[in-house]
Symmetry: C2
Subunit: 370 residues, 2 copies
């Protein structure tokens, strides 16, 4: 019997959870990750070589399909892989997500509202942007994540300095949006164009890093829920997308503004391992390998809390009912995502009560130093 | 940070599902299994050596705790491991489960009803047993599983022949019980004596191999449910048991008769991966490593269907809502358990409808030949 195999560029926690979801489907996984301690290696064949190593890519190319757990795949590596095997999601989605200017242009083209954004190539651009936008977020066009590569410019006279601090690389200036909350839509699109969407979740960040997701997001009108999903769907269809895609949104006075999208499984979809009939990880594997997609119906109410820095007290977390630990097997380090916890309940009230207990443990100071 | 490690003797599907459940807890797993294709290797370090190989056992002994996925652990291997590390469940439970005569004696001692059973050492014993029991099941005392090592003796004149067919090894004769149905209780006992029990499930066998489990078992009175759990609890407490234990029962006219118990995770508990808040696999890992046990509350109604011989049509199974495939990664072979499917629903009626669709696919003849 011929079973399918999956190659993943990147062997961090996303690769790990993809691999753990792939195994019950009989799918064997190979990951390429230069980190000798790559978290995914516990459930995958691990090739400990750089992402632009031709031998590593050739080994990935032995899999039936190749995917990735991060969007900043080197262009040449992507081209090489595409010559070997089907790569999902496709290169167009990666390219759009890799560059904040391209991404915003795509949103505009699709009629998806977003914060007003200007292209910044020079320090003069950075200063002029202040005249137009007032206080704004200066973000590198490429390679930003978890709040890295961005500076809040509150004073015209500091604009050029901020740009210099980001090494003068190509940037965008984004109007500061005074939003009421952050939401995200995680969907999965199959090779045949079928789309399944998870409930819209509400996200809270701390220091630029996702802290908490609530599924479903509280106080969502059916209209807002449908609107959010339709934006993500528009994007996925435009890109002829295959796999899981996450769209981050700001809600401002009942209006939805796109922040960014991720062409991969996403931290705000981690709740789905216990909180959905089929997890985002399993659905991504199903999609890229051409299997039918699974139901995204919720299983009760759920919340996901990231464990940043260290795991706090795993035994205390495990002692709470319907609380599920996901330890990524990483060493503690300041601001590092080392795990997450899913809390599940049968009502919003029960969820809130359980979540309070989890947060009391998780909010204890991390022992991890820089 | 010091994470715990777990050694498992045996790397089949049970070891595989234990390892997949251990990873999110940050527990790394080593399995010993002479089969070079041992299914557990996808989520564990695999030592491909025999169960009585001293080097293999020493390697297992590097783990914090050792457990096993089958009860027929060679006596010397068990003793060796016990000198190296804590082994859970303990040797007393294995010894009782390894020998049908010891097992039945233990049931009797604990006041747990069971089919009348006689000890058979000679062909004369086999003949005399017929006088006492009428038609009976002749079973080898050791090493029987999935209906292997047993013969139904329907005629006194064939008794000696049947015993010879089982190589004249020590056997037991069990009265044939005209039961209405088969039930089982899966429980987990922690190192501190805490016991959590899954709902009683109803099992259906085909050719001596488990075919279907329903959770919860239909038409259970609270009294019968409590009675079944109390029998398993009595057994676990008597053995000062640590880990998951399964007790198989026959229901006959409202009375419960113990069939056998398994000192390990059990096929009739597979539903718990999706059908319970915490799976039997995760709870076993928690118990043997001394973590708090997780809730065994049901998540909806669920059913487990074994895939025997081959996987039938995985894509057809995946296309059904809330149907979860577990492919063990084994090659197809007649009568081999190669995977299972969990079906989940929010009501008994919905479950029955979904199960009918699954059974229509699974009941197709297996393409696997002998």
């Amino acid at each position: 019997m011929k079973r399918k195999t999956l190659g993943i560029l990147g062997g961090g926690q996303l690769g790990r959870m993809l691999a753990l979801a792939a195994q019950p489907l009989g799918v064997r996984v190979t990951v390429v990750d230069p980190d000798e301690h790559a978290p995914a290696q516990v459930a995958a064949e691990h090739v400990p070589l750089p992402y632009d190593d031709w031998d590593a890519l050739d080994e990935l190319g032995l899999s039936d399909v190749v995917t990735f757990e991060f969007e900043n795949v080197p262009e040449d590596s992507l081209k090489r892989l595409e010559r070997l095997r089907p790569v999902f999601p496709r290169a167009n989605a990666l390219r759009a997500a890799q560059d904040r200017w391209e991404e915003k242009s795509l949103f505009l083209e699709l009629g998806i509202s977003a914060a007003r954004t200007l292209r910044i190539d020079t320090s003069e651009d950075a200063e002029k942007a202040f005249d137009e936008l007032g206080p704004y977020l200066l973000k590198t066009r490429r390679l930003g994540y978890d709040g890295k590569g961005q500076i809040f410019v509150t004073d015209r006279s500091r604009a050029a300095e901020a740009h210099a601090e980001l090494q003068g690389v190509p940037c965008v200036a984004e109007e500061k949006v005074n939003f009421q909350r952050e939401l995200s839509v995680v969907l999965c699109r199959g090779q045949d164009g079928t789309i399944v969407s998870y409930p819209v979740v509400q996200n809270t960040h701390k220091s630029g890093i996702l802290h908490l997701s609530l599924c479903p997001a509280p106080n969502m009108s059916p209209e807002l829920e449908a609107k959010a999903k339709s934006l993500a769907t528009r994007l996925a269809e435009k890109l002829d997308y295959v796999g899981v895609l996450a769209l981050e949104l700001f809600e401002r006075d009942g209006e939805l503004l796109a922040n960014e999208f991720a062409p991969r499984v996403h931290n705000s979809g981690h709740f789905s391992i216990e909180g959905s009939v089929t997890s985002q990880f399993e659905n991504h594997v199903r999609a890229v390998l051409g299997f039918p997609l699974g139901s995204t119906d919720p299983v009760g109410y759920s919340a996901m809390v990231n464990l940043i820095g260290d795991l706090r007290e795993p035994a205390a977390l495990l002692a709470l009912p319907d609380v599920h630990l996901h330890d990524y097997g990483k060493e503690p380090r300041k601001n590092r995502k080392v795990g997450h916890v899913t809390v599940r309940a049968q009502s919003r009230e029960e969820l809130d009560a359980r979540l309070a207990e989890v947060l009391a443990i998780v909010s204890a100071p991390s022992s991890a130093s820089a």
